[in-house]
Symmetry: C2
Subunit: 155 residues, 2 copies
């Protein structure tokens, strides 16, 4: 199990494989983002996209699944406070296969909770052509292996 102390700024990781089907694009969009270019192949042809594309929130959810399976599975994660700079850079289409690239961009101890550290990670979802389709900076929380150790030694 990896704790706060085991993660360093600059750490990179490339992982995951998620095949995006038309059926899944339609199912997600009909429940959570029923705009015509996400739910209706014919209407999508008339839209700015010119074809059916996945909801941006669906793309984020797909990346989250890869993060849980490929990165949080061996981490003492305490969840996330939020994300910054989420951008939908390219449409995700039926038949695309996505994977993830991550880089730790900052880490620091919580001032208020000695059991907790903050780890900021840049996430990029990448398609089979190497195009970044989505990116964001995740504001994660992770348990410290030795809670309060540095606080105690400072006393």
């Amino acid at each position: 199990m990896k704790y706060y102390e085991d993660i360093e700024t600059g750490d990179t990781h490339e992982f995951g494989e998620y095949h995006v089907t038309k059926a899944e694009i339609l199912e997600f969009a009909r429940q959570y983002d029923p705009q015509p270019f996400h739910t209706d192949e014919e209407a999508a042809k008339e839209s700015a996209f010119g074809e059916l594309v996945a909801s941006g929130w669906h793309t984020a959810a797909i990346c989250m699944r890869m993060i849980v399976d490929g990165e949080l599975d061996d981490r003492a994660s305490m969840g996330a406070r939020g994300v910054d700079e989420l951008r939908w850079k390219q449409p995700v289409k039926p038949g695309d296969t996505l994977h993830l690239r991550t880089e730790v961009v900052d880490k620091r101890r919580s001032e208020s909770d000695p059991r907790r550290g903050y780890v900021d990670t840049r996430m990029e979802g990448v398609n089979q052509d190497g195009d970044v389709v989505i990116s964001w900076v995740g504001l994660g929380m992770i348990a410290r292996r030795e809670p309060g150790a540095e606080t105690e030694s400072a006393e």
Copy 2:
């Protein structure tokens, strides 16, 4: 139909109603965010949350559904470039009922595309107790009614 010209910075809107069930929390999380505090009631009791809570991406998707139904239904939306400052402020639990508050915080014409305008909107998802559970700034794109008309200064 509302176009870029019909939207003003400072416009506010409060709308929507979405009842969040335990079954839906489990279904979303099992597919997209299978961390134990989202998928397993017993394991959630041992987590920092102390009970089952919705995936933060699920909460965002629920809010998107309300936005599509209550705000984009009469707008010439061209999608969104992304979101800034997404924050999960309070957990969403089975039985919660959410609604939306929105405020337009900025608008400007595209310099590169005379058919398009940018509208930045602060979104807040609010539960039945009046607590903000999620917030973000959506970076929306919307069609101009009169493409290219030079009625105001460009970005």
